[in-house]
């Protein structure tokens, strides 16, 4: 089986005053289709940098990135956009919905970026909103949704273009424990159902019980700390 994501020996450094700060130190990671990997670490440990590299938003100093078996390490900006459109779903920390769009339009927007529109797109958006439990909220704008609902719309939006790889940035940080758990359950469920490879980065240990694999990131070093409570 082709891995959804393979990171090999990734190093990322930032200039830090006169010195350099190593945010990711020679990290390797593989994510298979249908698998949710949780990367847990304290603030500043390099989680966002890891997601940025996997999301082709940041070119690492060294190492190799493969998405669905394709080497995508050295892409131009527009080629990287192309890969993000075709292969990636991103779920942001605060859901990052666009204020002027209704829930359904957030999803339509994702399809429009690929040049797809029309009735079939709206129908697919409604199906996805239904799948994340928001069939009734399709016409609401972000300010009319609760934090948990916004995060669900964000997940549905990330699924709109049928991604190979889902990258999720601190999805529970704005939610209470129970709602956070619901969101993590939802993410593992869609990952399982759709055969997507998913990386969730979080500092919330509550994801522990749902992730198939849990990795700990500390000072840019990844350690394998837990495997497979999840039955999927």
């Amino acid at each position: 089986m082709t891995a959804a994501l393979t990171l090999t020996d990734i190093t990322v450094t930032y200039p830090d005053g006169g010195r350099t700060l190593t945010a990711l130190d020679n990290i390797s990671l593989e994510v298979q289709p249908g698998e949710t990997i949780a990367v847990v670490g304290p603030s500043g440990s390099g989680k966002s940098s890891l997601l940025a590299v996997a999301g082709l938003l940041l070119t690492p100093n060294s190492g190799r990135i493969e998405i669905a078996g394709e080497d995508v390490t050295q892409l131009s900006r527009s080629a990287a956009s192309q890969v993000r459109l075709a292969q990636l779903g991103l779920v942001f920390q605060q859901s990052n919905l666009i204020s002027s769009l209704t829930a359904r339009e957030q999803l339509e927007m994702a399809a429009r970026l690929r040049g797809e529109k029309g009735r079939a797109v709206r129908q697919r958006a409604d199906e996805l909103l239904d799948a994340v439990g928001l069939a009734d909220a399709a016409g609401r704008r972000p300010h009319q949704l609760s934090g948990g609902q916004r995060q669900r719309v964000g997940i549905a939006r990330a699924l709109m273009n049928d991604p190979t790889l889902l990258l999720v940035d601190e999805p529970t940080s704005a939610l209470d424990h129970e709602r956070g758990q619901d969101i993590i359950r939802l993410i593992t469920r869609v990952t399982d159902d759709r055969g997507i490879g998913t990386v969730v980065v979080t500092h919330d240990m509550g994801v522990l019980e749902h992730a198939k694999r849990l990795l700990t990131l500390e000072d840019g070093q990844l350690s394998h700390s837990y495997a497979g409570g999840h039955g999927g």
């Binding site: 527009s78 956009s81 990052n96 002027s100 339009e105």
Partner: protein
């Protein structure tokens, strides 16, 4: 423009404010254009409606520019002009200011004197008669057959012809034979009106006749009132256009900075810069066209209402043309602001950047 239309609706208040500014600017620009054209016509319509295609004036003294009111043709200039290659017709046009007595009072007018037999004289001009402009006829309730007095001489209105005015005064055509008795020596001027065809060589003509010749349209700047007004009004229009570009640029700069987080998210999702730029330009275009059309419609309405008392021209050149210019210049301002979309880094969509 999926996003643009929804942003417009969602941020109604802000866009309405900007739209109102565009309405006001276009209102001003179009009013000014209509007024410029109206005043221009008052200065020039008698010249632009002359037959022929060229006008020639005597060369001005050093340091002065060509002027209808200080041109004096030498004796024999007409005869010399007629002999030149490519000249189909040439005639002298004499110009002077005078008071015309209508009923018991005086009306300021510009006298145009011409030989009734020459091609430049209006149809109907005969000895002891005058041809007057529509405006003069209307304002003074004159019709053909009425009598007017000029410098103590009586003339019959032979015909009423067209919108003809010069230097903000209505034109009264008089027969050239009476010119000497009507106008004091030195208080008048004279120019050549030419009809030219193939073979006409402006340089050779000027040299042979001792004049400066030019296309009739190019001679308007030699009408004193016209060049002064036209220059300052045109400058005001240009400044308004410049202001509108700046205002629109400033608005879209603030707007684009405000939506940077949205832009970062869209780019992180895979949106190309060009897609987002096109969308934002569409937004600017909608705003400019809607606001500009409303302002133009208002100005045209006002112009039509005041058209009787104020010189104001409402036609395509004074409405559609400034509107299109305003939209184009506004788009330049918007484009300069919207350019910054390309600098938005999608990585800012990650983390707690929001």
């Amino acid at each position: 423009m999926f996003l643009a239309l929804r942003d417009l609706r969602f941020a109604k208040g802000r866009f309405a404010l900007m739209g109102a500014v565009i309405v006001l600017i276009s209102l001003l620009v179009v009013m000014l254009t209509g007024l410029t054209a109206g005043l221009g016509a008052q200065s020039t319509s008698a010249i632009t409606s002359l037959p022929g295609d060229r006008v020639a004036m005597s060369q001005p003294p050093a340091g002065q520019s060509l002027s209808y009111t200080s041109s004096h043709l030498s004796d024999g200039a007409v005869a010399a002009a007629k002999r030149q290659h490519g000249v189909k017709a040439a005639a002298e046009l004499q110009i002077a200011q005078a008071g015309v007595q209508v009923g018991g009072h005086d009306v300021a007018a510009t006298l145009f004197g011409a030989d009734p037999a020459s091609f430049v004289a209006p149809h109907g001009l005969t000895a002891n008669s005058v041809v007057i402009s529509d405006e003069l006829a209307k304002n003074q309730h004159l019709s053909a057959g009425d009598e007017v007095g000029i410098n103590g001489m009586k003339f019959t209105v032979a015909a009423i012809r067209g919108d003809s005015s010069f230097s903000h005064m209505p034109v009264v055509w008089v027969p050239g034979a009476d010119w000497g008795r009507l106008v004091g020596n030195g208080a008048d001027s004279s120019v050549l009106v030419l009809s030219t065809g193939s073979g006409f060589n402006s340089g050779a003509f000027d040299h042979a006749v001792g004049v400066d010749s030019m296309a009739t349209g190019d001679s308007l700047s030699a009408i004193g009132s016209y060049s002064a007004e036209h220059g300052s009004l045109t400058m005001m229009q240009a400044m308004l256009m410049g202001i509108s570009a700046l205002v629109i640029g400033a608005f879209f700069t603030v707007w684009t900075i405000g939506r940077t987080p949205d832009l970062a998210v869209l780019k992180a999702m895979g949106a190309r810069t060009w897609y987002l730029v096109r969308d934002a330009l569409g937004e600017a275009l909608i705003l400019l066209v809607a606001g500009g059309a409303l302002g133009t419609a208002l100005a045209a309405t006002i112009g039509t209402l005041v058209g009787d008392s104020v010189p104001f021209v409402v036609d395509l050149s004074t409405t559609a043309v400034p509107l299109i210019l305003l939209v184009l210049i506004g788009m330049v301002g918007a484009a300069a602001a919207i350019r910054r979309i390309s600098t938005v880094d999608p990585i800012t969509a990650l983390g707690a950047a929001r």
